[in-house]
Amino acid sequence: MFGWEFPPYQAGGLATATLGLVKGLLRQGIEVTLVVPFPVGHSELIGLRLVSTATRVTQLLRTRRVTALLGPYMTAQEYTVTHAQMVQGAATTGKSVYGRNIFEEVERFASIAAGIAREEPHNVIHAHDWITYAAAIEAQKISGKPLVAHIHATEYDRSGDHPNPEIYRREREGMHAADIVIANSHALRRLVTRHYGLPSEKIEVVHWGIEEHRPEYHLEPPRPFKQDEPVVLFLGRVTRQKGPDYFIEMARKVADFVPDARFVMAGSGDMLPQIIERTAELGLTEKVHFAGAVQGADVFKMFRMADVCVMPSVSEPFGLVALESLKSGTPVIIPKESGVAEALRNVFKVDFWDIDEMTNKVVGILRHRELYEELRERSLEEVSSPKLGLDEPAKRVKEVYERAIEMANDRILQEVAS
């Protein structure tokens, strides 16, 4: 399995999703070798082998070939640091994965992948998003094993209607090279069919689940505000895709109805300066609080502190944050077109642009304690059902593997026959 993010290297949902999937697959008795581009230690999970291309780079750096690739100035140490910064940088800005060197990164990841494919026994190659597709294709050239391309988000989700043509090309290449493509949602499947010319029967939809029990779901929340001041939360990258601008406009309207409401924006990204400026323009500086990027357990503290979590995402191919919020006992308002909206019923679903409707719903939750409690109880019940745990998605992915292996075998038989 080729991944790009894995805790603690986390930019967004991909790390959590990958970890969740790996855990689920291990429970299904599948052994996983996860190849990632940053330095890793040993995994505590039984059945998971973590292989880092970064460590290999460190070893290979002694040879001239790779040093040349990376440039003469960079020592192994520097490189590792830079790389970690890059991965983490993605967490804070959401932008740096599109940095100048990203394609080089991807190429290098791919070049090492071939060697790994030779050494690591495997039956299926599973690749998460375009950044790992090149590596997966290289691996397939070596081992000839079936390829499953997993799509968490496409370039259209990240950039709207102006996709980076190089990223688009790579996404497309990976999807077409794959035996089976997995999409996070039906919405994503439709998008892929439309924009990437992939027949829909080649795409399997697997909704994400969430880890059933974690101590983080029950953390004591911080209490920075007065007891009776309700808290409305935005948690995510402050980028166009996540709709922070809609959140701020909504905050303005909510404040008219619930004057003591507090708004917390947890996240960082390229739109942050613009959002801060707009907050001042709207006279909300005393009500809106910027928490910066939050990681790990702090994420759950944020949910635990909030009365409602609002996701006005312009695009949300799945939206794992919604499940995390519900698990922490905080009702969510999610985008109508999100993947998670396909999987949940006891939540409010709104069009990201419908600021009035969002306001209406937030005010409803803040004003009526019964509504908050009923939503909280019912959604917690729903998110605790097996279909939203880790087993269900893993079972589905396992089925995909089995089918992919079958397809690859058939292919070999046909080649032999002809």
Partner: protein
């Protein structure tokens, strides 16, 4: 089996708009007139008009021996008067045959039996007056909203002059007894209980088109066999009128079923009787309903309307406002308030089956029960503010005169 008693419920609520927080205090209209009109027309076209015509034919062809009873809510009648007078006329034509009995109920198809005793009595009176005026007959048998019945209701109903009340033949009440007999209430002597045979009623109402049910397809011949085989005196078949053509589409053969039903029944010597005829029979015994029992869901209780904290909060808020609304003496406000008392508003807030995608969504205008709750609460707030304003005006102009009495006929058709 000797007799068949059929009663059909006919009701449409005044559905609310998706009344938002911004609409409060802005003079926004509460009800979604357009949607209500559209649904009324659709149901009239698919069910009311064709079924009324069929029933009329059947009554004529059996020379009045085929009999049915209707309970028509005031909320429905008011909408028919305004939007579909031809449908009202067809009900009147049926009533004029002498084979059709009209039952009493609360005007607004409300939960006032639970919420407020005086309100309950006023709505029943209001409805009875309307039925007399429109159909020339005075209801003698009562059926409460969603067949909700409990012992305390009996004296109220008896005092109002009704001879019998309809109730669900729930297993928890009947235990070893059969619903196919006339019973008497425990605490109002002389008031009879007519119990729905839910198995046979639901065979038509719910299961008629269920292809994976062993009874499918239900032909009139087969069904009458079941009825005839049922032990007792009278089978009470109570169901929503929308069963015909709306819940069960014409394509399912429901109209053919109904067309043959009376003749198949007569062929086996079964007789059709009306509820008030049964009210004259000697009861087999008494039955106690210690807790409210309804015909809804498997629980047969109030949980479809008052089963979660949202529903309870909405219900409490509504009845808390009653005395203030009545005190305004403002007919428009009182009617608005009463339209809000319709049980459907609470049904839409039901969360118990929501996660499964449920049977409750029939004509439900909301995406979620939570949206239904918010619309209702926002409307309540608007109404509270209007009432407050109106009372302020009343105080200014005529002092503190308050006369809640004499308002019983407000909102009548």
């Amino acid at each position: 089996m000797k007799n068949i008693c059929m009663y059909f419920q006919v009701h449409q609520p005044y559905r609310l708009k998706r009344f938002r927080i911004f609409d409060i205090g802005n003079g926004t209209h509460y009800f979604d007139d357009e949607q209500n009109r559209a649904i009324l027309r659709k149901v009239a076209h698919k069910c009311y008009l064709p079924t009324n015509q069929l029933l009329l034919d059947l009554i004529k062809r059996t020379e009045g021996r085929f009999k049915v009873a209707f309970s028509l809510s005031g909320a429905l009648l008011k909408q028919l008067v305004a939007e579909a007078p031809e449908v009202l006329a067809s009900f009147q034509e049926l009533a004029a045959t002498g084979s059709v009995e009209i039952l009493g109920e609360t005007y607004y198809h409300s939960l006032s039996a639970i919420g407020h005793k005086d309100e309950f009595i006023e709505q029943v009176d209001l409805h009875r007056g309307t039925i007399e005026r429109l159909f020339g007959q005075r209801p003698r048998v009562f059926r409460n909203t969603e067949l909700i019945y409990f012992d305390e209701l009996a004296p109220l109903i008896a005092d109002m002059g009704f001879k019998a009340i309809l109730a669900e033949g729930a297993d928890k009440v009947l235990q070893w007894r059969s619903p196919n007999y006339v019973y008497e209430t425990t605490n109002a002597s002389g008031l009879k209980l007519l119990l729905r045979n839910y198995r046979l009623s639901d065979d038509v109402g719910f299961r008629f088109s269920e292809r994976n049910w062993e009874g499918w397809p239900v032909t009139a011949d087969k069904y009458v066999n079941w009825v005839a085989a049922s032990l007792g005196e009278t089978v009470n078949l109570f169901m929503d009128y929308e069963t015909f053509g709306e819940h069960q589409w014409a394509e399912t053969g429901i109209f053919d079923f109904l067309r043959h039903f009376p003749f198949e029944a007569e062929r086996r010597g079964l007789k059709f009787v009306n509820p008030s005829e049964l009210a004259g029979r000697t009861p087999t015994g008494t039955l106690s309903f210690p807790t409210p029992t309804s015909w809804a869901d498997v629980e047969r209780d109030l949980s479809a309307w008052l089963g979660n904290r949202l529903q309870n909060a909405a219900h409490e808020r509504l009845y808390k406002l009653r005395s203030a609304v009545m005190a305004t003496g403002d007919q428009d406000l009182i009617e608005r308030w009463r339209k809000l008392s319709t049980s459907d508003h609470f049904y839409y807030i039901c969360t118990k089956w929501f996660a499964d995608g449920d049977v409750h969504k029939y004509f439900n205008p909301y995406e979620t029960p939570y949206d239904a709750f918010m619309a209702f609460m926002n409307v309540m707030q608007d109404l509270e503010q209007r009432v407050e304003t109106r009372r302020g005006l009343v105080r200014e102009t005529v002092g503190t005169r308050q006369s809640p009495s004499g308002l019983a006929l407000v909102g009548a058709v």
